[in-house]
Every structure is written in C-alpha cells, then in structure tokens.
C-alpha cells in the first residue's frame, strides 16, 4: 500500500507542475520544427498524404465503398498515430530525461506527462485531416459525437500509466525498447485500422482480446457516426483500472531507483 501512496504522490506532484511539462512539450515540438515553414503541420501533411493515397487503394482491395471507408481509414490512422507514438515515446521517457533526473528532484511523472501532452498537441494538429475528409465524405452526425472528447481523455489517462510503466521498465532493461517497437509495429496490422472488425466474420470476437482495439474504437465510433458499443467502453475502463493498479505498485516500488538506472 505504501508503494501505491508513493506513486500517487509522484503523479499528483507531477500534475501540479503543469507549467513545467506543458513548457517542455512545446519546446520539444518547436525545436523539432524550428526553421521549417509548416512546423508541426508536416506531420499532418504526411498523415494526409498517407490517407489520401491509401484510401482509394484499400477501399478497392477490401471491396468497400469509398464513401464510408475513407473517413474510417482517416480516423483510424490518426488515432493509431496518437496511441502508437505515445507508446513508443514512453520507452525514452526516463532515459531521455537523464540530465534532469540526475540533477533535480522533480516528480518523475513530469517526464511522462510531457510526452502525453506533446502527443495530444500533435493529435490536435492531425485532427484537421479527419475534418477535411469529413467535409468530402460527411458522416451522419449524431449527438454521440461528443463522446470522442471523453475517449480522448480516457486515452490520455491511460497514456500516463503506460508511460510510467514502459518508461520504468525500459530504464532498467534497455532492450525492452526494441521489444516495444516491434510489438507496436505488429499491432498496426493486427488491429482493425486499415480493415474492419466485421471482415473477420465468425472470428471477429477474437479482436476483443486486443486492448488497443477498444481504445481506437471508443474514439473512432463517435467520429464516423458508428454504433456506440458499451463493450469497448467497459473494456477500456477495466484496462485503465488494472493498468493503474499494476503500474502504481511497480512504479511506487522502483521509482527511487530510476535515477540510478538512467
């Protein structure tokens, strides 16, 4: 129980330092795109190019109507980029902040919150692609569309525990970074991003075992005007609870070791 308390205090302290992580996140974005004309919109542009070239191709391959497939693909890819980059960045959460960790006693969650915040900013830039596609292929707009904001918050909340856990493990075991990268690479293909869960036919229940599917689904369904399935929301909530339980125990236990590991 003491571990959970330690972890909780760290996270609370981290949230309170919002001025620090918001600033660090903006600095990182600015630094990457300094002297480039489009800035962070480069990511938006590359996502747009990917979607606009893959849309017609894959709708033909999968025999889908371009009308609904295009928005499905656009939303899927943008949400996937948010989730996958957060997971991949998490590996470097503490290793990359070595200089800070060894010199000052900020709560460690600051370095994870910075990653979460940075990726949400980039996501909001990319969201423009979804809006543009929706203008060309308008979905049925239902009141449930506002659920996507709730979904974004749930994803951000989960990104925090994922970041703390993966950041911690990667600081101790350096080759986990490679393992995470290959799992995330594989997840792109086994998660319904380019394809739809229904296409699996009688085996489509299998997809429920994929945790990323639920998070993509709670975000995607409200945007494309699809049916809202309680199953995805319950699964996401369960993953949140279990994730935090495991993370808080491990993070609370090993938090003080991170400065020695990085």
């Amino acid at each position: 129980m003491n571990y959970v308390r330690t972890a909780f205090i760290d996270v609370l302290g981290g949230l309170r330092c919002y001025e620090i992580w918001t600033m660090l996140a903006w600095m990182e974005i600015k630094q990457r795109y300094r002297r480039s004309v489009l800035g962070p919109f480069w990511l938006t542009l590359s996502a747009a190019i990917m979607i606009f070239s893959m849309g017609p191709l894959y709708s033909t391959l999968f025999g889908q109507h371009l009308n609904d497939y295009f928005l499905y693909l656009a939303t899927s890819i943008i949400v996937w980029q948010l989730i996958s980059t957060m997971i991949n960045d998490s590996c470097q959460a503490f290793i990359g902040a070595e200089g800070f960790i060894k010199q000052c006693s900020l709560p460690l969650s600051v370095y994870v919150l910075r990653i979460v915040y940075k990726n949400i900013i980039i996501f909001l830039h990319n969201f423009i692609v979804i809006v543009i596609v929706a203008i060309f292929f308008p979905p049925q707009i239902e009141i449930t569309i506002i659920l996507f904001i709730v979904a974004l918050i749930i994803i951000a909340i989960n990104a925090l525990w994922v970041g703390l856990l993966i950041g911690l493990i990667c600081a101790r075991f350096r080759d986990v970074t490679q393992i995470v990268a290959s799992i995330v690479g594989l997840a792109f293909f086994v998660t319904p991003i380019m394809w739809k869960a229904e296409m699996l036919g009688s085996k489509s229940w299998l997809i429920n075992l994929n945790p990323i599917y639920h998070f993509i689904q709670i975000m995607r369904a409200p945007i494309i005007g699809g049916a809202i399935d309680a199953k995805n929301w319950v699964a996401s909530a369960l993953i949140t609870i279990i994730g935090y339980a495991v993370t808080f125990i491990l993070f609370g236990k090993f938090k003080n070791r991170v400065a020695y590991w990085v």
Binding site: K30, Q103, F173, D175, I179, N256, Y260
Partner: protein, 243 residues
Amino acid sequence: MGLITMSTIIAENMAIEFPIYGANSRSFKNAALQAVTGGVISKGVSDKVVIKALEGINFNWKSGDRIGLVGHNGCGKTTLLRALTGAYVPTGGTLEIKGTVSSMLSISLGMEGDATGIENIYLRGTLLGINKSELKRFAEEVIEFSELGDYIYMPMRTYSSGMMMRIAFGISTAVSADIVLMDEWLSVGDAEFAEKAELRLQKLVSNAKILVIASHNSGLIDKMCNRVIHLEHGKVISDKYTK
C-alpha cells in the same frame, strides 16, 4: 534566529550504492532466464556490480554551517551533493533536508541550443518553480545581469561559451535559497564580468543558511567554510569546525 526559520540537513547512516549493469544484465532475456532457472546459471549471466559510493554517513548540519567537502577524486563528494539535491534517494539510511535547495552543480541544465536566450530563461525559470506572474521580472533581472543586449533574441547555439555561461550563471544565481550546493567555486566571463559575478555569488552564499561546497582548493575552503568534512572511499573520515 527562530526555530521556524532553521534549516537543517541530517543524515543517519546514509548509504548510496550504484548498481552498474553491463550490457548483459540490462537485458530482459537474462533477467527472465534467471527467474526461470532459479539462479542456477545466474552466476554466468549476472554481472551486476554494486559500487558503494557513500556508506554509513552521519551528520547534522544546521543554519550557519558553511561546509567544505574535501577528498580525492571519486571519494563521493559529487554523489553526496547530488543526494542533497534530492535526485538520488539514499539506498540505505535516511537523509532529511529542511529548507529550499539551490543547486549550482550543473548550471546549464535543460538549456536548449536551438531556442533563443530569452526562451531558455523562461524555461529554466519554470524549472526553478517560478510562477508565471513572476517570470517576467525574473527574466528582466537575468537579462540585465547577463549584459547580452539583443543577443538574447538569438538562438543559444550562436552564443560563445562565455555568453552561454553568463546566462546560465545569471539564472542559477537569481533565486535565493536556504541551502546552496556547489561543486567548486563558479567563475564566469571576462575579468570585468567575473567581478560582478563574484559579487552576485557571494551575496547568494551569504544569504543562504547552509552552504555546501566541494572543492580541491584548500584556500577556498579556508576562506569560505567553517566546517570541513573529509571524505575517503565513501566514508566520512573527519568532520570538524575550523572556525
């Protein structure tokens, strides 16, 4: 001086041990293997070495103490200073610090070469915990001190190392604290600026309740400190008041 404003640093049987992982034991495979093989082959795969950087450290520092840490390279001075910043939590015993801490150990921490001088001042100010409302005043003060003129609107990578140090020094010495930590005395800039910097640092140090400085310069220790702690192989071998 009342009890409330008293600053103290108390260590009880404090130890700091660094695990040194070779490429081998950092791998997840070996840790997993070790777990399943029940330690039979653990001798071969685990090359974990523990360095006892500090061991059995006991002290009780209070307001008014001007502590000089002396000892050979690798005796644990810097590790002790880092522990005092709160970055390293002791692996054994306790370390209790009462009072705000200002660290001069790495004054250019978090500086971004591609960002302008002024952006860096804001970044560092935020890291030091300065409120948004006070940041502007903080920045103005640092800018005035560093005398960089319009250069502060330029990216830091265009600065000479002397200019970079002026800003870093200006930031680190702008906020007073109860406890000041230093690894050797800081001296920056050309002759004229160095004099100004010296005064600023002196002022910061004299305002502090506790000063902890590690140095190889015995003249400096004589001048600045009233209590000298001699470390050797991670242990305190002498601790005495000199004044």
